[in-house]
């Protein structure tokens, strides 16, 4: 079954902060990280990305790596620049008060993981 951003948004009751036009993007995997240099090097395409980093550069990284969506965890929120960029790129930013560890566990359990070759 293909999981879409919309599915995790409703399943885990995540707030859509921006980029709502991209809710039908498909999720292939997940990634956690707050250092953008690391995410650029290691995140797989189609990943839902869990981070506390809210600087607008996250949208450039998400576009570059073709990530499905960004989830700001631990109650972090985007500023206006970041929101505007997400709307423009159509990359959803979802919000959660859970930690990256907790949320990643739930996502994994729900079946978000890289398909075995």
């Amino acid at each position: 079954m293909v999981m879409k951003v919309r599915d995790i948004q409703s399943e885990f009751n995540l707030e859509v902060a921006a980029g709502g036009s991209g809710l039908d993007r498909e999720i292939a995997d997940g990634y956690c990280g707050d250092l953008l240099s690391d995410v650029m090097a290691n995140a797989g395409s189609g990943s839902v990305w869990l981070t506390t980093q809210a600087h607008q550069n996250i949208l450039a990284v998400a576009a570059l790596k073709e990530l499905a969506a960004i989830v700001l965890v631990n109650g972090h929120g985007p500023d206006d620049d970041t929101r505007a960029r997400a709307d423009k790129e159509g990359i959803p930013i979802l919000l959660s008060t859970s930690s990256a560890y907790q949320l990643a566990g739930r996502f994994y359990k729900a079946g978000i993981k890289k398909k075995e070759e």
Partner: protein
């Protein structure tokens, strides 16, 4: 105009990671001993020891610029450098208003405010090593509004640098320069990146120990060691320049 050797990134005993012996007076004496023409004092998120260093420097004959090494919400370190203590104090006020937590000297180290006569004034209780709630964009804007310059710290390092935290320098962020750490091979870096993403490159000591002061410095061909002249050197204006 002439060549001025400047080490723009020196910590004192106010930084929790700075050695106890790094008093403002000691730092100034080390700068002189190393043949530097000017230094900038940049403690983590604080400028409390800059006035003492400026007064000690004025007495002993080395120019001291007051600064702070600010830790942004993205955990980017950047140097905010000014001409006058009052400007640095105004920047410090903004930083303090966005800084939380109490220092744990047993874990992070003491934060000591020392006057120009090497007398301990007090211990600062704030968690100066922590990140502020200020975004890098807001920091750059405020430093410029106050008349200072912003240099992104140790961009070659894998932690607390704008590159490690944000992946690349955000377009439109008006940094004045970037700094290479003392760990870098400046020569080979400069061969490939004289203008790092279009920004001028300096190198400095990031000294936490007296012996480290001046282990790296940058030579500026300028009229005088002040912020306006540094800015012109960064921009290659009116014959001012950085000499590598």
């Amino acid at each position: 105009m002439k060549l001025f050797k400047g080490d723009l990134h020196i910590h004192t005993c106010l930084s929790p990671c700075g050695e106890l012996e790094m008093s403002p007076l000691k730092v100034v004496k080390e700068g002189l001993a190393k043949g530097l023409d000017f230094i900038a004092i940049c403690d983590h998120n604080s400028a409390e020891n800059t006035g003492a260093a400026m007064r000690a420097g004025a007495k002993l004959g080395i120019h001291v610029l007051p600064g702070l090494e600010i830790n942004s919400v993205e955990e980017i370190h950047s140097l905010a450098i000014f001409d006058r203590e009052e400007q640095a104090m105004r920047m410090q006020a903004m930083v303090y208003a966005h800084l939380q937590g109490i220092n744990r000297p047993d874990i992070f180290g003491d934060q000591i405010v020392v006057n120009e006569f090497d007398e301990v004034e007090r211990f600062d209780g704030r968690m100066l090593i922590a990140s502020t709630q200020l975004g890098i964009d807001a920091i750059v804007r405020e430093v410029h509004r106050l008349g200072g310059i912003v240099v992104a710290s140790h961009v070659d390092r894998p932690s607390y640098s704008i590159i490690s935290q944000l992946g690349f320098i955000p377009p439109g962020l008006e940094l004045d320069a970037v700094e290479l750490s003392c760990m870098s091979n400046t020569e080979s870096f400069l061969t490939d990146n004289r203008n790092f993403k279009g920004l001028p490159v300096i190198t400095s000591s990031d000294a936490h120990l007296p012996g480290d002061v001046g282990r790296r410095y940058t030579s500026f061909f300028i009229e005088a060691p002040c912020v306006n002249e540094l800015r012109m050197a960064f921009q290659n204006k009116s014959e001012r320049r950085i000499v590598y």
